[in-house]
C-alpha cells in the first residue's frame, strides 16, 4: 500500500489546494483533517507538486497547513445486496442510519457503509469449483425483495480466474467470503460486496443492443405520442413550475420496470420527501410489494454540498448498471441534470478554466454525452437482457431551450419531452408540448392513427393561429371543426389528471382501446349547422369522454359511457349525411 500525504496550501470555497509528496492519481479520493473530522474530497487537477481538490463538504474551519491523506482509490460506490429501498446522499451515505446517529441535521465528515453489514442473506451458489470465470460472472444469488440478486465476480477483476472454493448455501452476511478465485500465482476472495469507481461504466456483458421495447409509463402523451424505450434515454426540459418533477414522480410510480433509481440532484429536498414517505406505503400492483422495495433514492438536494451533487448522478447510474447486470430493467430519473452542470460550472470557475457559453466549461457536452451513453440494453453473458433507461430533467435558465445544457442534452438523447409554459399556465397537464416534442422510439399504437392524430394537432393549431388574426367569423366551418377536434384530442387524451386514481395511470391496453375510439372521432366527417353547434357538441363529447377516462376499464360505467359516446357519434355522422344530402 502506498501512502501519499499532503498539506493544505490554499482554500477557496469548496476548492482546496494541497501540496503533496508521493504519487497522486487524478480523481482519487483524499481526506482533509479538521480536528477529529476527516472531510472527503476528490482530486480534480494536478499541477507540479500541487493538487486541487473539490471537497464534498462545507470547508468552514479548514486551515492552511492542515493534514491531507490520499487514499489511492477513485470515488467509488459500494455494490451488494440491500441497496434497494435505501436513501443515500450523493456519496452513497445512507440517510436513515445517518439520521439515527446525527439527528435532524446532516453532519459533515460522517461516512457510513452503504451496504448493510448486520443482515444475513440466503445465499445459493450457482457455480462449482474448477470453473473458469471472469469479471461479472455469477457466483450465486441471494433473494433481495422479489429479485434474485446476483453475486458476481468483481467487475474490477482483470483476466480469467479459476474458482477454487464456493461457500455452501446458507445465511451469510454481505462481507462474508462466498468464493475464492485463483489464477495460479495469486488468489482473490469474492464477497457479496464490491466497489466500483462511479465515473467509469460497468462492463461485463456480451453485447449492447438497440433499444426497441417500449417502456410503459402509463402516461398517454408519452406512451402513445412520445414513447420511451427500455434502455433508451430522454430528457424533460422546461421552465420552473411546468411540471418536470411531477412528471418524474408519476413515472417513478407507474413505469413498468423492475427497479427505479431516483436521483434528486440539486433541487428541493421537500420533493424527495413525498417519495421517501409515501413509497413505503404504496403497493406496486404488479408485484404486490411496496414501491419502496423496487426504488433507490439518491438525494443530494440543493442545499447539500455542491461537489457531491456532481457525484450523485454518477453514483445513481452506477447502481443502475449494477442491477442491470442482474437481467433487470432499471429506470434512472435525474432531477435535475442542470444542477449537476452548474456544479461543474462552479468548480470550473474556481479552477479558473477558460469559460464557454454562459460560463459553462468547454467539456460540458462531452461529459453529458458520456453520462447518457451509460443508458442502454445489454445482452448478458448468460443470454439474459438488462437495461438502463435514463430520463433527465433539464432546468434551462430563463426557460430558454437554446441554453447550453439543453442543447448538449438534445444532441444525445432519444426522446425530447419539452414542457411549455403556456400549457402549464393553462393547466394542461402533463404540459408536454405536442408540437415541439419528439421521440425516436416506437409507439404502442399503430402508425396510421398516430399520423392522423399528429396531423389534426398540427392543423388544429394552424387554424387556431389563423383565428387569432382573422377571428372566428373569418374561419370556415370545416377548419373550425378541425380546430375543435385538435382541442378535443388534447383535452381528453394528451391531458391526464394525475390526481385521479383511474385517469392517473392508463395501461397500454387501455390506451390502445381509447385511442382507437378517439381516432374514429378524428377521422369522422362531421356536419354542423354552425360553429356554436359544433362547439356545443365537442364540449359535451369532451365532458363525456373525460368521465370515461375516470371510469375503471371494464366497469359497467366504462361500458355505459362508451355506448353513450358511440351514440353521440352516430348522431353527428347521420347529421353529416343529412347536410351533404340536403
Amino acid at each position: 500500500m502506498r501512502e501519499s500525504v499532503g498539506k493544505i496550501t490554499g482554500i477557496n470555497g469548496n476548492m482546496v489546494s494541497v501540496g503533496f509528496t508521493g504519487p497522486v492519481i487524478q480523481n482519487e479520493v483524499a481526506y482533509l483533517a479538521i480536528g477529529d473530522l476527516r472531510l472527503k474530497a476528490e482530486v480534480i487537477r494536478v499541477r507540479g507538486g500541487v493538487a486541487d481538490l473539490q471537497v464534498f463538504e462545507d470547508t468552514t474551519g479548514l486551515t492552511v497547513g492542515g493534514h491531507v491523506e490520499f487514499t489511492g482509490e477513485l470515488l467509488s460506490a459500494e455494490l451488494g445486496p440491500g441497496l434497494l429501498g435505501q436513501v443515500f446522499d450523493g456519496l452513497q451515505n445512507p440517510l436513515h442510519p445517518l439520521a439515527e446517529r446525527c439527528g435532524f441535521f446532516l453532519r459533515r465528515g460522517t461516512y457510513l457503509e452503504a451496504v448493510p453489514r448486520d443482515r444475513a442473506w440466503a445465499f445459493t451458489p450457482s457455480i462449482e469449483p474448477g470453473r473458469r470465470v471472469r469479471a461479472g460472472d455469477v457466483i450465486g444469488t441471494v433473494p433481495e425483495g422479489i429479485f434474485a440478486h446476483r453475486i458476481m465476480v468483481p467487475f474490477s477483476l482483470q483476466g480469467s480466474w479459476v474458482v477454487e472454493d464456493v461457500a455452501p448455501a446458507g445465511e451469510w452476511r454481505a462481507d462474508h467470503v462466498v468464493a475464492r478465485l485463483g489464477d495460479g500465482s495469486r488468489g482473490h476472495e469474492v464477497r457479496m460486496i464490491q466497489r466500483w469507481p462511479v465515473k467509469i461504466p460497468i462492463g461485463g456483458y456480451a453485447e449492447r443492443l438497440r433499444p426497441t421495447e417500449p417502456l410503459i409509463t402509463r402516461m398517454r402523451i408519452l406512451d402513445t405520442f412520445f414513447p420511451v424505450a427500455r434502455g433508451g434515454t430522454y430528457c424533460i426540459p422546461g421552465p420552473f413550475g411546468a411540471g418536470k418533477t411531477v412528471l418524474q414522480q408519476l413515472t417513478s410510480r407507474h413505469a413498468e420496470v423492475d427497479v427505479v433509481i431516483v436521483a434528486a440532484c440539486g433541487e428541493r429536498a421537500g420533493e424527495v420527501v413525498e417519495t421517501l414517505r409515501e413509497f413505503p406505503h404504496l403497493e406496486d400492483p404488479r408485484t404486490g410489494r411496496t414501491l419502496m422495495e423496487r426504488t433507490i433514492i439518491i438525494c443530494n438536494t440543493s442545499s447539500m454540498p455542491v461537489a457531491a451533487r456532481e457525484a450523485s448522478v454518477y453514483t445513481a447510474v452506477t447502481l443502475a448498471e449494477y442491477y442491470r447486470q442482474m437481467a433487470l430493467n432499471v429506470l434512472l430519473l435525474a432531477d435535475s441534470t442542470s444542477r449537476w452542470a452548474q456544479a461543474l460550472r462552479e468548480m470550473s470557475g474556481r479552477l479558473e478554466e477558460i469559460p464557454g457559453e454562459e460560463a459553462f466549461p468547454a467539456y460540458l457536452e462531452s461529459v453529458m454525452a458520456a453520462f447518457y451513453e451509460r443508458g442502454g440494453v445489454v445482452r448478458l453473458r448468460d443470454g439474459g437482457l438488462g437495461s438502463v433507461t435514463i430520463g433527465g430533467a433539464v432546468s434551462p435558465a430563463g426557460g430558454n431551450f437554446e441554453e447550453p445544457v439543453t442543447q448538449a442534452t438534445l444532441k444525445v438523447v432519444g426522446a425530447f419531452h419539452g414542457l411549455s409554459r403556456e400549457r402549464s399556465n393553462a393547466r394542461r397537464f402533463p404540459a408536454i408540448d405536442p408540437l415541439d416534442s419528439w421521440s425516436k422510439y416506437p409507439s404502442i399504437v399503430g402508425g396510421e392513427d398516430l399520423e392522423l392524430a399528429r396531423r389534426i394537432l398540427r392543423e388544429g393549431n394552424d387554424v387556431n393561429q389563423m383565428m387569432k388574426v382573422v377571428g372566428e367569423e373569418g374561419t370556415a366551418l370545416a377548419d373550425f371543426v378541425v380546430y375543435l377536434k385538435g382541442e378535443y384530442l388534447d383535452a381528453v387524451y394528451l391531458q391526464q389528471d394525475a390526481y385521479d386514481p383511474v385517469d392517473g395511470a392508463s395501461s397500454s391496453e387501455r390506451q390502445r382501446h381509447v385511442f382507437g375510439l378517439i381516432a374514429r372521432v378524428l377521422r369522422m366527417p362531421m356536419g354542423f349547422e354552425d360553429k356554436d353547434a359544433a362547439r356545443r357538441f365537442f364540449q359535451e363529447l369532451g365532458q363525456v369522454t373525460r368521465d370515461w377516462n375516470r371510469a375503471a376499464m371494464g366497469a359497467d360505467e366504462f361500458v355505459r359511457i362508451e355506448g353513450r359516446i358511440g351514440a353521440m357519434l352516430a348522431e353527428v355522422a347521420e347529421h353529416a349525411q343529412d347536410l351533404s344530402a340536403g
Partner: protein
C-alpha cells in the same frame, strides 16, 4: 488564544488581505481602524495570505489596521429576549437597547437530513382568495412574491404575516428603504405583533456586506425557535438586493460571471437559504415568505429565474393583484384535498375558464365579433377579477368557494364549465342561481 495582526497587505472592494497562520476558513475577525470597528470574515486563503470580507466595507481602513481573529465563524445570539427587538445584519442592536449574546449559534449551519423531513400538511390561512383558494400557502413552505418595483409587496407581506397563525415572525430586511423598515415596525406594533417579532434590518444606507448576512442570521434564529417547538414565519425582503450584493462581492473577487454579471453559484447561494424552510417532526417549523423584485418586469432575469427553480411556487403581484397565471403554490395539493370537497374543482375550473376569458379579451382587442360564448366569458372574467382577484377581498376560504360557485352558476350552464358530472351533481347551486352555498363538504 488571541491572534492580532497589524499589517494589511491589500485593500480592494470590501476585501482586505493579511498574512496570518492558523486561521480557519470562514473564521471571523475584528478589524479596528481609525474609522472604528467592524467584523470581517475569511473568504479565501492562499498560502499565508488570508482574504477577509469586511462587513462595514473597506472605506477608511488603513494598511495599519489591527486585525484580530476570533477563532469562530459568524454567530448570532439566541434567546427569548430577542423578541420585540431590531438588529442590523451583523446582529448589532439597531433600537438603542443593549446587545444580546446568550447561546451563541453558528449561522449558515448544516442542512436538515432529507430523511428527517415530513410532508407538510397544515394550511396557512390568509383570507386572500387568490392564495387560499387557488394557491394555498402551507406551513413550512418557501414562497416568494415576484413583483415589479412600485407594487405593494411589503404591505402584502405584512398583511399575510399578521393574518397567519404563527408563534414568531422574523423579518429579514435587505436594502430596505428606511420608510419601509418603519412601515414594518409600526404595522407589527399596531397589530400587537411586535412582541412576537424579531427584525434584522439592513437598509439601503448600510454597508453592502451586512446585507449578505441578513438571511443567514434571520434563518439561524428562526431555526432555534423552530427546534424549540415554535411555528416561525420568516419574511425576507428583498432577495434581489441580497443577490445584487452577492454579485458585487463576486465581481470584487474577480469571479467569472455566468449570467448578467451574477456569479455561477447564485442558484446554490439562494437555495442554501430557502431550503432552511422546514417542519421539524415533533417540534416547530419555518415558513419563508420572500420578496423578489423583478428588474424590468422580466421573470427570466437571473434572480427571479433561479428563485423560481428553488422555491415551492411564487405569487406574481401585478397591477395590485395576485395574477393567477404564473402564480403557483407547489404544496397546495397537500392541503386542498382536506379543506372542502369542492376546493379543487373550483380551483381548476375557475382558472381554466379565466384563461379562456383572457383569450376572448385578446380577440375583442383585435376587433373580432363576439360569439355568445365570448360574451359569457367576458361577463365571467369581469366578476372573477373584481370578486376574487382584488387584494381588498378578505374572506375565509369557505366563503370564497361559495362565491366561486355563485359566479359560475350566474354565468354558465354546467356542461360549459368542463366540471365532471359527478361534481356538478354534488355542488352546482340548485336552480342555476347562487344559493346559500353547496350542501356537500
Amino acid at each position: 488564544m488571541r491572534r492580532i495582526y497589524r499589517r494589511v497587505e491589500r485593500i480592494a472592494g470590501n476585501v482586505i488581505a493579511v498574512r496570518a497562520s492558523g486561521v480557519g476558513y470562514r473564521e471571523l475577525a475584528e478589524v479596528v481602524s481609525a474609522r472604528g470597528r467592524s467584523l470581517a470574515q475569511v473568504i479565501r486563503q492562499e498560502g499565508d495570505v488570508v482574504s477577509l470580507q469586511v462587513f462595514a466595507g473597506s472605506r477608511g481602513i488603513s494598511t495599519e489596521a489591527q486585525v484580530r481573529f476570533l477563532g469562530h465563524p459568524m454567530r448570532t445570539a439566541y434567546s427569548g429576549s430577542l423578541l420585540g427587538r431590531v438588529f442590523t445584519g451583523s446582529g448589532e442592536p439597531r433600537d438603542g437597547r443593549p446587545a444580546i449574546d446568550e447561546n451563541p449559534t453558528e449561522i449558515g449551519g448544516p442542512s436538515v437530513n432529507p430523511s428527517r423531513r415530513v410532508i407538510p400538511r397544515r394550511m396557512i390561512r390568509t383570507g386572500i382568495p387568490m392564495i387560499d383558494v387557488f394557491n394555498t400557502l402551507v406551513e413550512s413552505q418557501k414562497l416568494p412574491i415576484f413583483s415589479v418595483a412600485g407594487e405593494p409587496y411589503n404591505p402584502l407581506l405584512a398583511r399575510i404575516a399578521l393574518q397567519a397563525e404563527v408563534d414568531v415572525i422574523v423579518l429579514g430586511g435587505m436594502g430596505l428603504k428606511h420608510d419601509d423598515y418603519l412601515f414594518f415596525r409600526d404595522t407589527l406594533d399596531e397589530a400587537g405583533a411586535l412582541a412576537r417579532s424579531i427584525l434584522f434590518v439592513h437598509t439601503a444606507a448600510d454597508p453592502v456586506v451586512e446585507c449578505l448576512m441578513v438571511p443567514d442570521i434571520s434563518l439561524a434564529v428562526a431555526e432555534r425557535f423552530a427546534l424549540d417547538g415554535r411555528r416561525v414565519l420568516v419574511l425576507l425582503t428583498d432577495m434581489t438586493n441580497f443577490s445584487d450584493a452577492l454579485k458585487e462581492v463576486a465581481i470584487t473577487m474577480e469571479q467569472i460571471p455566468s449570467n448578467r454579471g451574477y456569479p455561477g453559484d447564485l442558484y446554490s447561494q439562494l437555495a442554501a437559504r430557502y431550503e432552511k424552510a422546514v417542519d421539524f417532526e415533533g417540534a416547530g417549523s419555518i415558513t419563508i415568505l420572500a420578496v423578489t423584485t423583478m428588474p424590468g418586469d422580466d421573470v427570466t432575469h437571473p434572480v427571479p429565474d433561479n428563485t423560481g427553480y428553488i422555491t415551492e411556487g411564487q405569487f406574481y403581484l401585478r397591477g395590485g393583484r395576485i395574477e393567477p397565471f404564473g402564480s403557483l403554490s407547489r404544496l397546495k395539493q397537500l392541503v386542498n384535498g382536506e379543506t372542502r370537497g369542492d376546493h379543487r374543482t373550483i380551483m381548476n375550473s375557475m382558472i381554466q375558464i379565466y384563461a379562456s376569458f383572457r383569450e376572448t379579451q385578446e380577440k375583442m382587442a383585435m376587433g373580432f365579433r363576439m360569439s355568445d360564448w365570448d360574451r359569457k366569458l367576458l361577463r365571467y372574467g369581469g366578476r372573477f377579477e373584481s370578486e376574487m382577484m382584488g387584494l381588498d377581498v378578505n374572506i375565509p376560504l369557505e366563503g370564497a368557494l361559495d362565491r366561486g360557485w355563485a359566479i359560475l352558476a350566474d354565468c354558465f350552464e354546467p356542461a360549459e364549465t368542463g366540471i365532471p358530472s359527478r361534481l356538478i351533481e354534488r355542488f352546482w347551486p340548485r336552480g342555476g342561481r347562487a344559493g346559500p352555498g353547496p350542501a356537500g363538504g
